[in-house]
Symmetry: C2
Subunit: 182 residues, 2 copies
DNA sequence: TATGTTACTGAACATAATGTTCGTCATTAT
DNA sequence: ATAATGACGAACATTATGTTCAGTAACATA
């Protein structure tokens, strides 16, 4: 990729992050992003068609790091034997989110949060569905899947909103405690 | 309240609902609401300062029916004795949502859904917190509260998205099954 | 170093939404 | 009947959107 492209792309991301620290996504205009990034108007539109696409790209960017190929691969078994590795995977997710350089707190704020969560839950659904057959609750599979994905996403949101006051290990332990998986 | 006020207010709500059936909240403009409701521009702004406030009012309206005083009162005990009435309350909530005349499906769609869920979770938090001391899981209280509220909200969203294909009773039964409350 | 390609600039433009103001007219409550 | 109140609609300044285009700078390659 051309260095110039990379440069403006970074500038846009940076500006977007900066703006998200003080404003809600819905109230941020393309104009403000342009001004903050200090780029030409047409330049922005050369990169992204809409503000939503910018957010989507940013989310995809984050998730490409969070959900590595290894994480999405077949279920792994750790040394303990009777645990199916889901706990390890979930912990990894929190660690990656914690280390993400992007402004996750801002993205999670009110209206953009909905889109972030939507994409997030997409990945989670794919991941969780591999472990579904092992649960032995008396409820439809699609209900259980939605419940696991939804409550995990909510847990992560809560964890981030509360400035990650518990360690990833603790948090996942609590999650497993209340969902009774593994 | 002046009948004229009530009339335009209804017209605005109706127009908003109609628009939500075909468009996402974020893409609906005040202009469209005005046109659809067939009212004067200044009239709209005499009622609501912003589009968000209109949505907020609509949500409050719905919730005032869903979360009745009786529902928010101290925990009640049904005839079975060992159940604390939470199941009954949750079932009531689904019934009220089902019977709501407002366009809940539209409100839940992508970007306005975030606000709806936020208000919804506010009420749920108040309600659930009364039952918290009865849970006996090894996790912090604020974590458990967030988990119950978040997963119930997600369950409701899923239920509505799936055209309420299960009865309120079934749905709540599943919810209790996976959360192990009551 | 020369050359063709690619990307950013900046200004201009048409379109559309926002939020406010104000005089006029219709409906309301008493 | 009348005074108060609310809706009307037009006009207005402001701002954002998304596109276009000619000019210029940075790039890769040979």
């Amino acid at each position: 990729m051309d260095r110039r492209q990379q440069k403006t792309r970074d500038a846009i991301f940076k500006a977007f992050s900066t703006l998200l620290e003080t404003k809600r996504y819905g109230n941020i205009t393309v104009q403000e992003i342009i001004d903050e990034a200090n780029i030409g108007r047409s330049t922005f539109y050369a990169h992204f068609d809409t503000k939503d696409e910018l957010l989507r790209t940013m989310c995809t960017d984050i998730f490409s790091h969070v959900f590595s190929d290894e994480l999405m691969s077949e279920k792994t078994h750790d040394f303990s034997g009777n645990n199916n590795g889901l706990e390890t995977k979930l912990t990894h997710i929190l660690y990656h989110l914690k280390d993400s350089e992007k402004n996750i707190v801002g993205i999670l704020s009110c209206d953009s949060g909905e889109l972030f969560m939507k994409y997030f839950k997409g990945y989670l659904t794919e991941m969780f569905s591999k472990y579904l057959n092992e649960t032995k609750v008396n409820a439809p599979a699609d209900f259980v899947l939605n419940h696991l994905v939804g409550s995990f996403a909510e847990t992560v949101r809560w964890w981030i909103d509360n400035r990650m006051k518990y360690t990833p290990e603790e948090t996942i332990r609590y999650y497993i405690e209340v969902t009774h998986i593994a």
